[in-house]
C-alpha cells in the first residue's frame, strides 16, 4: 500500500469507526497525571521513564484495536510501518498526522515530526522542567515501542526535540533494533 492509501485508511477509520469526544478531558487528565508524577518523583528523568513505561503498556493493548478498526494486516516493511504509525495510529486516536521524515540510509530509522500535538494545548513547562529534560509527551514513545513489539519489532523510540522546549516542531526518533522471532514458544498456547 502507498502512503496515500494508508492516509485514506486512517481518515476513513476516524470518520466512521471512532467515537469522537472533546479533547479537553484527555488533555487535562494527562497533564494532571504528569503534575502528579513530578510531585511524586521530584525527578524529571524518572518521570520520563514512568511515562514511557505507561505508554508501553498502552501500546501493547492498542495494537489489536487499531487492526480491528482498520482491517489492516502486518506491514511488509519498516517503511509501511512508519506510514501506518503516522497516518493510521496517530490519526485514529488523536486525529493528527505527524509527517515521516529523516530516514537513515539503511532504512532502519526515521523521525515523526509533530507540529500539532494535542497534549501541548494549554501546556507550558516551567523552565526547570525544560532544563532538566522533561519530555512531556514521552508516553507517545512508549506507545510506539509497545505496539511495534507486538508486531515483532524491537525498537528504540525517543524524543529528539519538543515544541515545549522551544523547538519549532517536535521530533520523535524511531529506530528498529531487530525483528523478533515470530515463532510462538511451545509451552505457550
Amino acid at each position: 500500500m502507498s502512503a496515500k492509501q494508508y492516509k485514506t485508511v486512517g481518515e476513513e477509520a476516524w470518520k466512521n469507526n471512532v467515537e469522537k469526544v472533546n479533547a479537553e478531558l484527555f488533555i487535562f487528565t494527562y497533564g494532571s497525571l504528569v503534575v502528579q508524577l513530578v510531585k511524586d518523583y521530584e525527578d524529571y528523568t524518572a518521570v520520563n521513564k514512568q511515562l514511557d513505561k505507561m505508554g508501553y503498556n498502552i501500546g501493547v493493548r492498542l495494537i489489536d484495536d487499531v487492526l480491528a478498526r482498520t482491517g489492516l494486516e502486518k506491514c511488509a516493511d519498516f517503511h509501511s510501518t512508519a506510514e501506518v504509525i503516522s497516518k493510521v495510529g496517530f490519526k485514529v486516536f488523536l486525529n493528527i498526522t505527524p509527517s515521516v521524515q529523516n530516514w537513515s540510509s539503511d532504512g532502519k530509522e526515521f523521525s515523526l515530526i509533530i507540529d500539532d500535538n494535542p497534549l501541548n494545548d494549554f501546556c507550558e513547562l516551567p523552565p526547570r522542567a525544560v532544563q532538566d529534560g522533561l519530555w512531556y509527551s514521552n508516553v507517545f514513545c512508549g506507545v510506539i515501542r509497545g505496539a511495534l513489539e507486538m508486531m515483532q519489532m524491537q525498537t528504540e523510540v525517543y524524543f529528539v526535540r519538543d515544541v515545549l522546549h522551544g523547538a519549532d516542531v517536535s521530533e520523535i526518533r524511531v529506530k528498529l533494533v531487530k525483528v523478533l522471532d515470530e515463532e510462538v514458544p511451545a509451552n505457550d498456547e
Binding site: V18, V21, E24, Q36, L37, Y41, R61
Partner: protein
C-alpha cells in the same frame, strides 16, 4: 425531604459550545480525539499511581528500618514489570489488598481529578460566570460537565437543600466495560479507583466557584454509581 430535579434537555450544553466558538484563539477548533484514547490511558493512570504509591511506601519502610531507600531496586523493577505484564493481557489489573496503600492511591487519584476539574471550569468559564448559587453549579456539573466527560447527563439529582447533593448515574461510562467474571464484590472493588477520579473532578469544578466540598462515591452494583457532594461551610 428530598427535592427531585430530573435533568432537562441539553440546552446549556448547546450554549457551552456556542460560548466555546467565541473563545478567542481556539475559536474555530474544538479539538476532538477518539473516546478510546482516554479509555486506554485510564487503567494505566490507575496502575502508575498504584506503583508510585507502592514505591513511596517501600522507601519509607526502608528508612524506618534504617536502610538506604532503594536498597531493593532489583526487586522493585521485577514487581512493576510483573504489573505491566498482567496489564498487557487484561487492561484492568487486580489491586493490592493493602488498604493503607489504596488510601494513598485514592489521595493521588482524587488530586489528579481535582486539577482536571479546576481546569475544565476555567476552560469553560464563559458559560460558568452566569452561575450564582450552589445548586446552579451542581446542575452545571450534572449536565454540561457530565456531557463533556461522558456524553450523557446525570440521571438523577437529589438535594436536602442543606448542602447535600446526590448525583446518580445509572450507566457510569467507565464501568460499562468492567463486567468481570469475578462477581459483584470483587468487580466493585476493582472499579473503585475509577470513581475516585470523577470525585476529584466534581470537587475541582465546585472549588473553582469558591465552593468547598467533600465528594464521595459508591456503587451498589456496576454500572450504577452515586456521587454524594457535601458542602463544607467556610464560616
Amino acid at each position: 425531604m428530598s427535592g427531585n430535579n430530573s435533568t432537562e434537555s441539553p440546552t446549556v450544553a448547546a450554549r457551552l459550545f456556542s460560548a466555546l466558538s467565541l473563545d478567542g484563539k481556539q475559536a474555530n477548533e474544538t479539538r476532538q480525539v477518539s473516546g478510546g484514547t482516554l479509555e486506554l490511558l485510564l487503567p494505566e493512570l490507575v496502575n502508575t499511581l498504584v506503583s508510585t504509591a507502592l514505591e513511596t511506601k517501600r522507601a519509607s519502610e526502608q528508612i524506618a528500618l534504617g536502610q538506604e531507600p532503594g536498597d531493593n531496586k532489583g526487586n522493585d523493577g521485577d514487581h512493576s514489570d510483573g504489573g505491566g505484564q498482567q496489564l498487557a493481557t487484561s487492561g484492568w489489573t487486580e489491586l493490592p489488598e493493602d488498604n493503607e496503600l489504596m488510601e494513598q492511591v485514592y489521595v493521588k487519584l482524587e488530586m489528579v481529578g481535582f486539577r482536571v476539574g479546576r481546569r475544565l471550569a476555567e476552560r469553560f468559564s464563559p458559560l460558568s460566570r452566569r452561575l450564582t448559587d450552589t445548586l446552579d453549579v451542581v446542575k452545571f456539573v450534572c449536565k454540561d460537565v457530565w456531557m463533556m466527560l461522558f456524553n450523557r447527563q446525570i440521571d438523577n439529582l437529589k438535594t436536602n437543600h442543606r448542602g447535600i447533593y446526590v448525583l446518580q448515574d445509572n450507566k457510569f461510562k467507565w464501568f460499562l466495560r468492567m463486567s468481570g467474571n469475578s462477581g459483584g464484590a470483587a468487580a466493585a472493588r476493582r472499579a473503585q479507583p475509577y470513581i475516585w477520579l470523577p470525585c476529584g473532578i466534581i470537587r475541582g469544578v465546585l472549588d473553582s466557584f469558591g465552593i468547598s466540598t467533600v465528594v464521595i462515591a459508591e456503587t451498589l452494583g456496576l454500572p450504577q454509581c452515586t456521587f454524594q457532594i457535601k458542602v463544607v461551610s467556610s464560616e
